[in-house]
């Protein structure tokens, strides 16, 4: 049963940025895994058993043991499979990478979600707030191909949330939250991402993705108050 104990399983959801970032990391490391698509509107008994605290995807299962929370999973992957490192080796650079990852998930993601479904002045304010945060990332990219430097790293993987969720959905949300005039470096970085084989393989197909988001937004907006 030695083969089975190496088994890596990922409970995820095809349209979730948090799930996709795990697939990117596993692909960078060349780790084969079994993907288990979860219905987040009707959570499986397996998911509830493996992540009883948060009941959310993604959950990575390795050697039969579950790990939850995408940033924790990413670090676990980097600690376990040491080829193609995702985090920098230098402790200070590592601390900075962790800082930006947390900033993206806790600040930018939250701010960008506040734009959805708003109108008028409220919408403008939410857009401004998101842009103010993105300006910090814009500065970080100056002179670099990726946040990780020459190669894709931890922050790039986490920031795919911006490239393929925030930026892709601008048309649906009805406002260019990340215009190229204000964020030339971010736009340049997105082009670099799109030229990368792992990214191309691991991000959700655009048309299907946009259809799904439109559909979800309609459901969210017409939900009774």
């Amino acid at each position: 049963m030695a083969e089975r104990s190496e088994e890596v399983k990922l409970l995820g959801m095809w349209a979730s940025p948090f799930s996709r970032r795990i697939e990117i990391a596993l692909t960078i490391k060349g780790v084969p895994y079994e993907f288990s698509e979860q219905d987040i509107t009707n959570k499986s008994a397996l998911l509830l058993q493996l992540n009883p605290v948060h009941k959310m995807i993604p959950v990575l299962v390795h050697h039969g043991k579950p790990i939850s929370e995408s940033l924790v999973i990413l670090e676990y992957i980097d600690d376990t499979w040491q080829n193609n490192p995702i985090l920098p080796q230098d402790p200070y650079e590592k601390a900075m990478a962790r800082f930006w990852a947390k900033f993206i998930d806790e600040q930018i993601c939250v701010a960008a979600m506040k734009v959805v479904g708003k109108t008028g002045e409220e919408k403008d304010a939410a857009v401004e707030a998101t842009r103010d945060l993105l300006k910090f990332l814009e500065k970080e990219l100056v002179g670099k191909d990726f946040f990780g430097g020459k190669n894709l790293g931890f922050v790039d993987i986490v920031a795919t949330l911006i490239a393929f969720w925030v930026m892709r959905t601008e048309e649906i949300v009805g406002v260019k939250v990340v215009p190229v005039e204000i964020f030339p470096e971010i736009h340049r970085w997105v082009k670099n991402l799109l030229a990368n084989d792992v990214i191309k393989k691991c991000i959700p197909p655009e048309d299907e993705h946009l259809r799904y988001i439109k559909d979800r937004m309609v459901k969210l907006i017409i939900k009774p108050a």
């Binding site: 050697h63 670090e75 676990y76 590592k94 601390a95």
Partner: protein
């Protein structure tokens, strides 16, 4: 080269307490600088332009922000004494999961007990649930890290100096609801690093009482 370690902090911050404990566990000498949160220093604004918050650890002129990130940094820079995180990847992930849980849940809920009018009852019920979840995770271990005091213990212990505040304004009794957690906190306080880092509960309770008056809650 002489190491220069500065900590920009605020005495009552449960986040600052984490970094104080980590530095003490590693026996690192550092320059503690008290910040006035209502009149932040230019150094703080320069070293943490993104969040403008304490604690900020400045090591040889370079800032590290966010308390949990600081603990990991301290553990990596000074690996010789008292490991703060496990070396096994799964145990590390487990520790990070629980520290993340503490960060996501405890303060957000606890703040509503003393800083918002009208939400105290709901928030205090929620806080007890959160603390019970943590107590359950602790089980009958000495520390969250099992036999060794570490990352998760450090992440949570500072909040214990605020329990009196939560009891008072939330009209709860954390000790009777979570006796094992209180026993754990007492064990942690026996460590010199923790005893020196945590202010006396009464001091925090007085501070919050005065702050609430200033904010017009009383």
């Amino acid at each position: 080269m002489a190491e220069e370690v500065i900590l920009l902090d605020f005495w009552a911050s449960m986040f600052g307490m984490r970094t104080r404990i980590a530095l003490a566990e590693k026996r690192i000498k550092y320059d503690y600088r008290e910040e006035d949160l209502w009149n932040k220093s230019s150094l703080l604004l320069e070293m943490n332009p993104v969040h403008k918050k304490i604690p900020v650890l400045i090591h040889n002129g370079k800032p590290v922000c966010e308390s949990l990130i600081q603990i990991e940094y301290i553990d990596e820079i000074w690996p010789d004494k008292n490991s703060l995180l496990p070396s096994d990847p799964y145990k590390r992930a487990h520790a990070k999961f629980w520290a993340d849980f503490i960060d996501k849940k405890v303060n957000v809920t606890a703040r509503k007990i003393w800083a918002k009018i009208g939400e105290e009852e709901e928030a205090s019920k929620e806080l007890i649930e959160i603390l019970k979840t943590l107590e359950n995770e602790l089980g009958d271990k000495t520390y969250f890290g099992d036999e060794t005091f570490g990352y998760v213990d450090i992440a949570l212990i500072g909040f214990s100096s605020w329990f009196e505040v939560y009891d008072k304004y939330g009209n709860v009794n954390i000790e009777s609801e979570c006796p094992n957690l209180i026993a754990w906190a007492k064990r942690c306080l026996e460590r010199e690093s923790v005893a020196k880092a945590l202010p006396k509960s009464e001091k925090i309770t007085t501070f919050i009482s005065e702050l609430r008056k200033k904010l017009g809650f009383e």
